[in-house]
């Protein structure tokens, strides 16, 4: 039966030229994925280990970078790409550590993409670089879809945000190999069930690696640093 007029004749036309139906079968994010693959190839070639840090605004991404760089810059050559919609404030915070940093302002954009990162890399000397940290725009939704070419996404979650974040934003926690539970120095003052948080994260992403840390007290950072050293070493020998 014809779906347009309901008559018995199949597939007839209603005074219009027949339309041509063409198959496209193209991934909408193909261009981003291509550029991300190019970044990834460059990182592999240069032996650069890279992380894409994602979280809600205020979970402590910049604080974690400040602390990590201060503690490890004598043994690892870092560079930092800072993504924010506006201002160079975070880049200025990072610059005080002496580590090379470049700010990317996305304007209305709610996430970094592989193209921005590719150009951001032009600001660094890749030959001597061992580890690139990318701080994404504070947002637990949009950055999940955009591969930047990083080795791993790292989700930060602070204990003031509620332990059910992994359930509320499952895509992001599924895309992240690592979850950092930050601000554990505040645990005596807030209701946050760390065990539940771990369980929720494990449910949306079986095998996710979890570190409990405080950028203020430094608690838990040793394990995070050991992991970074190990990964930087592995990448170096491959590169």
């Amino acid at each position: 039966m014809c779906v347009d007029c309901g008559c018995a004749e199949p597939d007839h036309h209603h005074g219009e030229v027949p339309r041509k139906r063409i198959s496209v079968e193209e991934d909408i994010l193909a261009k981003n994925d291509r550029l991300a693959a190019a970044n990834r190839a460059l990182f592999a070639e240069q032996g650069v280990f890279s992380l894409n840090l994602v979280s809600s605004p205020g979970s402590g991404k910049t604080s974690l970078l400040e602390k990590t760089l201060a503690d490890l810059k004598s043994e690892i050559n870092f560079a930092v790409l800072e993504g924010d919609q506006q201002t160079a404030n975070d880049a200025e915070r990072i610059a005080t550590t002496g580590v090379p940093v470049h700010q990317i302002n996305t304007g209305a954009g709610c996430h970094l993409d592989a193209h921005m990162v590719g150009h951001g890399l032009e600001h660094f000397d890749l030959d001597s670089l061992q580890m690139l940290m990318i701080e994404n725009v504070g947002n637990l939704v949009c950055p999940a879809s955009f591969d930047l070419g990083e080795d791993f996404k790292v989700s930060l979650l602070s204990v003031t945000e509620g332990e059910d974040k992994p359930l509320k934003y499952p895509q992001m926690f599924r895309a992240s190999e690592i979850m950092l539970v930050n601000k554990i120095d505040l645990l005596p003052y807030v209701r946050f069930d760390v065990a539940k948080c771990r369980e929720y994260a494990e449910r949306v992403h079986p095998g996710i690696r979890i570190f409990e840390i405080s950028c203020y007290s430094g608690e838990g950072l040793d394990r995070w640093y050991d992991w970074l050293r190990e990964k930087v070493g592995e990448k170096r020998t491959k590169g």
């Binding site: 063409i22 079968e25 193209e26 193909a30 879809s145």
Partner: protein, 113 residues
């Protein structure tokens, strides 16, 4: 609202495809959007009208086919719909399932003259 950027990619791909086919008119563009793709179909629809203005796409229809996410149980190999990322296997109750569709963000086809 990353739907805007995604819509710009859709428009870019659709116009390039139409040009390759020497199309004079585009009637429709059909997408396959997985339920776990992180994209809101209504937002895409909204952005599409804005992004297609003053191009060959103006006035064309954006058809969105939603693809339901499905997982295969690691323990008993049963396939089941994943209404959310926490669904368990209906046959054996296992929580270990591998997602095999539902993350699509794809232009499937177009109707052109």
């Amino acid at each position: 609202m990353h739907e805007l950027g995604i819509t710009q990619s859709i428009v870019e791909i659709a116009l390039r495809t139409a040009e390759g086919q020497q199309a004079k008119k585009i009637h429709s563009v059909t997408l396959e959007i997985g339920s776990l793709s992180g994209v809101v179909p209504e937002a895409l629809q909204f952005c599409y009208d804005a992004c297609s203005k003053e191009s060959l796409l103006e006035g064309s229809r954006l058809i969105i086919e939603e693809v339901e996410a499905k997982a295969r149980c690691r323990d008993c190999a049963v396939e089941y719909p994943l209404t959310d990322l926490l669904a368990c296997c209906p046959a054996c109750g296992s929580a270990a399932g591998d997602l095999f569709c539902g993350e699509e963000l794809r232009i499937k086809e177009m109707e052109i003259d």
